[in-house]
Symmetry: C2
Subunit: 251 residues, 2 copies
Amino acid sequence: MKLFAVPDLPEIEPGDDIASLIDERVDLEPSDVVCVASTIVSKAEGRLADLSAFPAGPRAREIAANLEDATGEPKDPRFAQAVLEESVGLLIESPFLLTETRFGHVTVNAGIDRSNVPGHDLLLLPRHPSASAEEIAGGLDADRVIVTDTCGRPFRHGQRGVAIGWAGMPASRDWRGEHDRTGRELGVTVQNVIDELAAASNLLAGEGAGGTPVVVVRGFEFGDHEGSDEHFREIEGDLVRQALREWNDGS
Amino acid sequence: MKLFAVPDLPEIEPGDDIASLIDERVDLEPSDVVCVASTIVSKAEGRLADLSAFPAGPRAREIAANLEDATGEPKDPRFAQAVLEESVGLLIESPFLLTETRFGHVTVNAGIDRSNVPGHDLLLLPRHPSASAEEIAGGLDADRVIVTDTCGRPFRHGQRGVAIGWAGMPASRDWRGEHDRTGRELGVTVQNVIDELAAASNLLAGEGAGGTPVVVVRGFEFGDHEGSDEHFREIEGDLVRQALREWNDGS
């Protein structure tokens, strides 16, 4: 398995055709997995915004008053308003905003980015990342596309790459019913390969001035397993989220 | 960047020298990252055990009574005893055991494996995975070693590879103080690269009869960043864990 970054991509502008920009720069094989950072998908889809577009309502002002920005000042309530508009629920309100986006992704600040946004204040996540992945895949010689994000997580320090949208492949390998070397049924059941591919691609993608937002994974074999498209947990099956909601409501 | 599995490793037995077994099969380069599944580290370190070694105390019996095994029967209280002995704390007690291991890893059942354990009932995680990584690295031509596990996580379906021990490299790239293309300071601050490498290696490692427990990552460049060895969160900085503990104590 081999990973390489697509070289020399320009700064992406609203309306750009990401698939064409990739196709002009690399010779893809049909089985390649193309991992595309959500930042450029958002830019191509015009998901740039300014704070002035989010006049703060009372709920946003209340939330922002309990949050600090990097300099210790209260957060701009218009930012809290933008986060609310991009979310269907808040799991934690203070000291940071842990949100569930409209497409099911649990992340801080609804994934709204305030760095790397030329000429604007905010970069919102794509509206439907799997639809974006589908559209990009339609314009490529490769069938499999993952739209990636980076985010933190409970229990472990640091951010890592994750998949927020995918097309042309299942999200997971389902090992249920398969057996170990000694014939015992496997305890590990479902392996989320799109998150693992996104994490792998993030090792090359980087975040800074030398950012390379598209990484090709060549030679990944899904193998002879059942596939599953379960990816974001619903709250019904997510005990941690249930506990957080109860805890937040009670605090 | 390129990943390949070390071919033809034998079933690992207690006392086996993993570094030698790897060295005999591949020509490593000094900058390679060698990702070793914790299952074989545990086997080499003799971390196999039987349920009979864990006579259940009252706490284990109480916990087991609230848990079901795969067939809907109450869990074996000796299994709960083993989990308790491998843990410093329980975050969730029912319907599954979410634990913190002695070395800081938050995972279900203290990471105790019941599949792929020839001749025994249980496979415990290595006692000190970073010490294990250090020891393996000492016997290899490559300097960087990661001991990997697979585990689930909140908010997202499926398991993915994670690092539980590491040697020869920092856990994370610290981007703080670095700037984006437009000169704005980056919002994303710390990238946990050892978890991303573990996830990448798990794409090749697999779990089943064709398991390949050692994967070499060639060509990963840490780059010109500060490094950090923060990996497992302490409860003080982990709001989700605090909430879970309060929720578990109150339920």
